[in-house]
Structure formats: structure tokens, C-alpha cells
């Protein structure tokens, strides 16, 4: 039931998707599903941690727009992702900081006016995460899992359409459909289908850039909740990889620091 304006979970999910789904992707005509996914993986930047500065635009069902700026740190270690997000503007949310560790198992919120960090509890993996349309389980889905069944549904002039069926029985998604760019091998769009096979969410990468190693970096991401008619657009302004972060960076102490 929490803030749709609290876009950190959305970013969390986007990042996971970018980290994982992009790695699924793949190759040219006549390629098998696995080959396509390998090709996408090849185009994915590999890193241990990253720092992203981004602008987030939230558009609600009444077309009300809210813009926020944030800085975000991500670390992946032993398949466990930790994320620290701090809002920079507007003033009303300045320095509000969220920390998620162990794939969202522990989430803390620091609100500067109160000076104390609080743990945000998630009662159920399948419940919505902090009032967003994303659930806690979204954070822990391993889209790369070899156990997931994948099938090439269609090949158009520009895209491969791959259906991914998760192996977990208790997952609240029946399937995902990935739209992979045939020319540049990256995931352009992901569709999320619930257990009734109803399309609930879509994620689209609308703009990309290539780094010096010709790896793909998504620069504009749009996430749409079909049910709530709510949209989140993320414009990445700056992205850095493999920073020298202290070992205790992803802790409550960091959240409380005035400057990161």
C-alpha cells in the first residue's frame, strides 16, 4: 500500500531485469532460443557494482506527472543483489534513502527528518512491494535460470519473440514474453502475464547506447502497469561500473550519511 512515487522498487526490478533478462538474449536468423539468449548475454555489460544517476517520471491514470531525481548503487555478489537508492529532488524527498539487501529480503528506509532508519516489512512475497505494482517475488525471479522453459514464439522482421515459462510453481506469473531486437540483440520489451495469462505489466527499453566495448546500456526505460494504468519512465543520465565501494557501503550507516 505504499507510495507509487516510491519508485525505488521499480528501479530495483528494472535493474534486475536488465541484469538478467538482457543476459538471456541472442543471435541471428535460424538461431535456437539458447543461441539467441547467449547473444544477448554477450551484449550485456558485466560488472560487480554500478552507480546510476537517473530521472524518473511517474505518470498516473489521470496523466498526472511527477518527476524525481535519484542516485542508485547496485551490487551483485553470490547471486544476491543489494541496492541503495537516494532521492535527490524534489526537496520534499531529498535524502530519503532506501536500502535493499539479499534480493529484497531486507529493506530499510531512512527518512532524514526522522533521522532513524526503519525496516520495511514485506508480509508476503506475492504482495505488492511498497505500494508499487511489483511484488517482492519480482525481486528474486531468476530470469536466466536454466530451469525456465523457453520457446521461440515468432520471428518478425525486426524481433524474436521468446516465451519464458518459469519453473517455480508458487510464482504468480504464468509466463513472460521477451521481444528481442534482431539486429542488436537486446531485450526491447518484456511482457508479464499473471496466472490467468492476463497481461499485467510491460517493460520497454526505448533508448540504448553502446559503451566503448560495444556493450549495450539502456538509457530510457518505460514500465507500464496495465491494470492500474500507471507508467514509470526512467531516463538514465549517467552510469558508472565497478566503483571502489567500501565493504560496508550497503548498510544503514551509509543511508544516514548526508552525502554518498
Amino acid at each position: 500500500m505504499l507510495n507509487k512515487n516510491n519508485y525505488y522498487p521499480i528501479i530495483l526490478i528494472i535493474l534486475i531485469l536488465l541484469l538478467n533478462i538482457n543476459q538471456l538474449l541472442c543471435a541471428a536468423t535460424q538461431l535456437t532460443v539458447d543461441e539467441i539468449i547467449d547473444k544477448v548475454k554477450e551484449n550485456q555489460v558485466e560488472y560487480t557494482n554500478s552507480k546510476v544517476q537517473a530521472e524518473m517520471i511517474l505518470i498516473d491514470k489521470n496523466n498526472k506527472i511527477e518527476e524525481r531525481e535519484m542516485i542508485l548503487f547496485v551490487k551483485e555478489e553470490n547471486n544476491l543483489i543489494s541496492i541503495l537508492i537516494r532521492f535527490l529532488s524534489p526537496k520534499s524527498v531529498e535524502r530519503v534513502t532506501l536500502l535493499s539487501t539479499d534480493n529484497g529480503e531486507r529493506i530499510y528506509l531512512y527518512m532524514p527528518a526522522y533521522q532513524k532508519a526503519r525496516r520495511i516489512a514485506g508480509s508476503s512475497k506475492q504482495e505488492n512491494f511498497m505500494g508499487t505494482d511489483f511484488s517482492y517475488e519480482d525481486l528474486s525471479i531468476d530470469y536466466q535460470s536454466e530451469d525456465y522453459q523457453k520457446e521461440l514464439l515468432e520471428e518478425t522482421e525486426t524481433q524474436f519473440l521468446i516465451e519464458v515459462i518459469p519453473a517455480e510453481e508458487d510464482l504468480s506469473y504464468r509466463k513472460f514474453v521477451l521481444y528481442i531486437n534482431k539486429e542488436q540483440f537486446y531485450v526491447e520489451k518484456v511482457e508479464f502475464y499473471n496466472l490467468d495469462e492476463q497481461l499485467t505489466k510491460t517493460l520497454e527499453i526505448k533508448e540504448i547506447k553502446f559503451d566503448e566495448m560495444d556493450k549495450i546500456i539502456p538509457m530510457n526505460i518505460a514500465l507500464a502497469n496495465i491494470i492500474d494504468n500507471h507508467q514509470t519512465i526512467i531516463n538514465i543520465k549517467e552510469i558508472e561500473y565497478d566503483l571502489e565501494l567500501p565493504s560496508d557501503f550497503f548498510t544503514i550507516r551509509t543511508m544516514q550519511k548526508p552525502k554518498l
Partner: protein, 927 residues
Amino acid sequence: MNKLTEFISRHAKLIMVLVLLLTLLSFTQIKNLKVEDDITKYLAENDPEIVFYQEISNKFGRYEENITLVSLEYQDLFTLENLENFKLISEELEKSNYIISVDSFLNMPKIISSDYGIEIRDFVEVFPETEEEVQELKESALNDNMIRGTYLSADGQVGLLMVKSPDNVDSTFLREDLEEIINKYGNNLVKVEYIGFPVIDVQINEMARDNMSLASLATLVVLALLFYCFRSIPGTFLPISIALITSFWLLSSIASTGKTVTIVISAIPVLMIALVTAYGIHFTSRYYEERNLFPPQEAIKRTIVSVFMPILMSALTTMAGFVSLTTAVIRPMTEFGIFATIGILLSFFLTIFFLGAFFNTFISKKVPPNFSLEANDLITRLLKVIAQSIFSKKNWILGTIIIIITISGIFALQVKPDSSIEGRLGENNPITKTMDYFKEKLGGVDFLYIYITADNVKHPYILRSMDKIQNYASHLPSLSQPSSITTFLAQLNAAMENKKIIPANPSKIDNLWFLAGDNDYINSMLADENQSTIIQIRARELTSNALNKSIEELEKFIQTIPHTVSAIDLASLPSPEKEPYFSYIIENIISSWQANGLKIDLQQEEELQKKLRQIATLPNEYFYSTQEEFITEILQISTLELEDLGISTKALQPILFEYLNNYYLENQFLAILSQKLNLSLEDAQYLTEIITDSLSIVAEREKIRYAQTEIESILNTQLNEENADYLWYLTDDYVYVPDTQGEINFSGRLTGIPVIINEVNNSVFQGQIKSMLAAFIIVFILMTWQFGSLLTGFIAMIPIVCTILTAFGIMGIAKISLNIGTMMVASIAIGAGIDYTIHFINRCKQELAKNKELLVAIKITLTSTGRAIAFNSLSVAAGAFVLTLSEIKMISEFAGLIGWVMLISVVYTLLLLPLLLKYTKFKEERC
């Protein structure tokens, strides 16, 4: 007139066919007639209160037109089986095409907090799986102020579903769908009740149709009377056919425009039968009189010539009564007045043209002999007695009338307006009973709203003022369960820092908003880019003196709160400069207590101010303690940071004790921490900061506990939880000082159905006076014009004035309130009742013209025209009394009063008018 009679004679068959065709056509349209009874549509669309209410409703999505409340009662809702059933029904309803959403206590927001964690989620996020879990849920739900008495009855048996449907949903389909789903799944239910605009709409339509169908019964009653009077088939059926045809035409023309009409319109068919039948009676009886003397064509001509003017006059005065209703700016009255006027006009033309054409087409061979004059029935015998004794018993008659009028006048003063739905529909109406059920179990169904506007309603000062207003409201009679964003924000603040208050620091509000901003309830309470919000208060009754007084007091209270203030940041001031501002904090605490119902006398107030000032100046250090509980509390609120640092509370506890026991300075504490816990300097510094912050928080808590004990000893009573929480204001870091030039300001205004009902009640009262005066003036002018004499015009009005006074007396005695139904009685009585006076005076004049003595003329009038008048009033009253069977109280009362008024009117006409005519030298004045 000759041209008219010739026209009717020449086109008799065409007139008949046209009337029949139009009537057949009207049958096809009547089924489309849509009735609604929405109080917000009673006043003019541009009425300031209505405009304001609509604006607020649209802004905050509280357009109650789309909300249906469904109560599901179980033997005990809190068993696993019943709770699952409740959830299932809620889920199945949400699948309906006629429903957008279903809210219940299951998806109300709940804040769960501990000293280190916070969770905001649906009240029932994880559905209980065992009976024990169900009982835990029950306890939690019944202890939640946002749920108990609102979404859940206090006995835990009734759960409320708030069903939101799309705009313009077909109410009948919605109701059917609701019933179908609930009947299918609700095997465990003890009782189901539905309320809200969509379902009321269906019920009102059904009741209105029932009213209209009462017209059949009224027809039978009037038919019986007519048969008794005419003893002929055409004489029985023709007069009533005019009323029926008029009603069909009228209702079908309303239906064909696609307009909705209010419930009073449903009284039109019966009223037409009662009022309009008289025209047919006059026409038919006159025709039979003439037919006994002349051939058919001549008899028709003579009939039309002789009845045209009297019926026209009668129609004009009745129309005057109805037209006067349009002077009241209340929509149901205006539309009733307009449609009834059209109906009377139509019936006049139908009487002349249709009956004229009928007798032209179907020439009766057999005519009832000596139709009226020579009759010797009970009424005629009674009239003869009156004629014989009226002048000898004049003192007795006048005395009795004066007593009746005096008593009536006294009781008339007790008549009060009541436009509530209970007042309109009656205590025993199914809708009222359902409303009573909701009132008893779930605190009522209607809301009073306080609309708050400010540059930013999320400002702490505005929120605290709202908190004060809603607390004050909750202690007023007839009002309960106020809610606003403040309730939720105070709960969130409690979760964040254990203080269930609105924090004084604007940054904290910003932070809380970030945490709660996506909550649907919270979002629905804000509008205009955070510049407006509402406080929602349940009204136990929709109208009552108590409620009106509460509304008045609430308006006054809002004015007592400073509307413009300046903010002082205490944290930026050195200690000595802070002290002068403590008085504002203390004043805020005391006024918050008073608003929340705490009784404080002047002496106590002085003591409280003194004590609170003393406590406010005490530093936190004064409350440091080495007690185990104190230390444990510090460790508890540092749990997250300690976990982060990997330090156990067990290891830290003795160090903390040492620190507090020896009054160490912070740098000494830092050194001990570093040494005993083997921490780096950086870690030790961090831990010192954490512990000193926590220490300050716990000391603050001690200070407030101490304050509570001291205050309770002054007041000699224990503070309840809410009032104890206001002591947290002593820790405020911002103070708001009244300042006309201040940068923070707000305004508050009341609206809602109770306010509109109040407005309607005022309009009803004013409308009553206006319409009655208008009817009186129009009829007086008509009378003066007809009789060619101001004095006669004045005398003619006296019986009707007495009738109205008596009618109001009856209303006072029978405790009948003034509503849009009953307020029409006086105007209609003037318009319709005056007919008797006209007939009486006309006949009297005719007799005087024959050079008879006044007394003789009056006696003849009494036994001739008097009889016709008596039958006429009996037929009107009989028709009207049928409508007293209506399920709708205002229609039933309206009809009953009309019936009585017509009977009383005839009594005053036959007893008082002859005396007045005698005393006013009527003869000399000349007719």
C-alpha cells in the same frame, strides 16, 4: 360561444378519434417514466450550497451516486468459514460488469510498527488459515478506529462492503447483479441490507410506480361515488375518463422528454382523479338537467354555454394554486406545479371538447330524471337542517369556529420543516428501516464534509487544526467517526517515532507523505495540487435540531481557530529565546484537549499552564535514568544500527549503564566504546551518535510520561490515550504563532447532505410562505374580478384561510412535518377549495337576482349547490384518501391532508360563508 359549440358539434367524431389516438400513444410512453428522489436536486442547480457540494463531490470522488453499501450479517463473521465467505462475496462482486471496486475492512490500510520496523499494508494481507488467526484478526479489527463501527459492527457480526459502480450504471441491473451474486454465495448470511443512491433509486422508482397504480383504486372509489350520484353508466364513467386521460397524457409527455421527475409527481394521477373529476361531474350533471328539458343538440349547446365559465373559473383558481408552487425555488414543487397546471388546463379542454363531442356522438335516449335538485339523500337532509338552523345558531357556530381556529393557530406554530429521507419516506418505509439498520450497526450512511483549503493542506499547522476540528465534531450530538488525512498521518508518525500526533516539523510531513503517498484513501482525500482536502464526519441523523445545532457549533468552532499563523523554527533558537514560545505550545495542548472533550475549569487551566510551562523548560538530561527499562529501551530503538555494526545489546548494556551512572561526557563514552567493544574510531563515533540520539528519544519519552502523571493529578482524572498523546506537543521543534500577516493560512467550510437538507428545510419554509401568498393573491384577484367587488373577493377568501389554518393545526397535532409534499397542501387547497366558495356565491347571486330575500337565497343555495359542493368534496377527499396507502410518508401525508382540507373547506364554506354573506350586506352590494 356559439362558434365553439358549433365547432364541437361539427367535429365531434374527429375530436373523439384524436383523443383516443393520443391516449393510446401515451400508453406506449408511460413505461419510460423515470422517478428519482435526490435531495441534491431539490434546489436550483446554481444554488451556492449545491454548486459547492457538487464541486467537493467531484473533487474528492465522493459522488455518492456511484456508491452502494452492502452489509453482510453473520451469526459471527469471525469464523474461518464466514470470513472466507465474506471474502468470496467481495471478490465475486468485483468481477461484476456493473462494479468497479469493492472496499471492505479486508483492504483498509493498516500500519504495523515496532521500535525498529514499519509496515503499511492491507488490513488483511495474509488471509488467516486457522480459527486462532481469525480470532487474532477479530481483536485487531475491533481495536482499529478506522474499521470498528465503520466497516465492521462493534459486535463483529456485520461487515460492510462499499461497492463503487461506474457512472450512469443502470441501477436495476446493478441491484439484480448484487442480489444474484450474494444469494448465490451467501448461504451463511443471517441478513443482507443494501443502501446507497443506486439501490434507493430502484426502490424509489418501484414505490413511485406503486403510487401511480393506486390510481386504479382511487378510480374505483370515485366510480362508486359517481354511480351513487348519477345512477347512469356514462354519468359514472365520463367524468373520471377526463381525469384518467389527462393523467396518461401528462405522464407520457414527461416520459417522452426523457426527463427524470421527483417522487411527488407520482401523486399526479390520483390528484387528477380527485380534482378533475369535478369538471366532468359539472358538465355531465348539467347536460342531464338540460337534456330533461331540451333535445340532444340544444342540450349540449346549452350545457357548454352554461358550464364553460364556471369550469374555466374553477380551473383557473386551481391552476393558480398549482402555479403558485413554482414560486418556491424547490425543484419537485416547481415541476409538480407546472405539470399539475398543465394537467388542469388539459382537463378543462378535454371536459369541454371531449365530453361535448361524446354527447354529440352518442346521444343518450334515457336520461336520469331530476338529477340533483330534488334528491333526498342523507347529505341533502343534513344540508336542509343546516339551512334551517344556521342563523339561529350563528353564535354557537362562530364560537366553535373561533375556538378551532385559535387551537389550530397554536398547534400550527409547532409545524417544523423536515426534508430528510426519513421525513420524506417515513419511519416504516423499507429504505428508512435499512438506514436505521446501518445507523445502528455501522454509524450511519451520510456524511458531513468540512472542506479545507490552504496553500498547502499538508502543512503541520493545517493538519493539526483539522485534527482539532474533527475531534470537536466527534463530541457533538448527531456526529460521529470523523476521518481525514490526519488520522492516517498521525498513525504513520506513531509508527515512525512513537508519537501518535501530527508532527510540527514540515519536513516530517514530507517524509510521511513519501511513505504514504500511494495509499488510495490518502490520495482520494487531496485535491487541487494539495491545496484542498476534506474532513469526513458521519451524521447519525440527516436532520434534527441537534444536528442543526451541531453544524452551527462546528462552524463557530472553526472560526475560533487562528486561520493565519507564522512558523517559528525552535531548533534555530538558543534556549532562552525558545521559552516565550512555550505558551503557544501549551495553549495548543490545552485547546486540543478541550476540542477532544476534556472538561477543564478555569482554575485547572491556570494550574495546567503553569505545570506544562515548567515541564517544557526541563532539559531531556533531567530524565536520564540508569534503570534497566530505560537502558533496554535505548538499545531497542538502536537495534537496526547495532545489527548493522554486529554488536549485541548484551555487550552494550553494561557500557551504557556505566555511561549513564557516571554522567560521562560524550567523548568519554566514545573512548569506552572504542576500548570495550574493540571498535575503530569511526565505528565508535557512529555508535556514540546512535546511542546519544536514542538516549535523547527515550529521555523525551520519560518526560512525557512524567508530564502525563502530573497533569492527571491536576485534573484528578486519567487522560485517555488521545489526550495523553497531545503531550508530545511539548517536544515540538516548530511553533505556529497567530499572525494576521503570517504565511500559513487556511479556511474551512461545511457541506454535505445534512447541510443541503438544512438549506432545503429553509427553502421549504420560505417556499411555503411564498407559494401560499402567491396562491392567495392570484385567487383573490380572480375572485374580485369575478364578483366585481373587492369586499366579496375578500369574503370569499375567509373560508379558505380558515381551512388552511385548521390544516396547519392538524399538522401540528398529528406531528406532520413540513416537507415538499405537505407544503403544497395550502396552495392546492386555496386553488381547489375556493371552487366551493365560487359555486356558493354564484348560486346565491343567481337566487338574489330572482329578487329573493338573502336568507331565502342562502337556504336555497345551501340545499342545491351545497349538495353538489358536498359531493364534489367527498369525491375529491375519497380519491385523495386512497393515496394515504402510499408507502411514501410525504405522499401519504400530502394526500391525507388534501382529503381533510377539501372536507374542512366544504364545512367552512357551508357554515361560515352564509353568515359572512349575511353580515356584509351582500345583497346591497349587488351581484
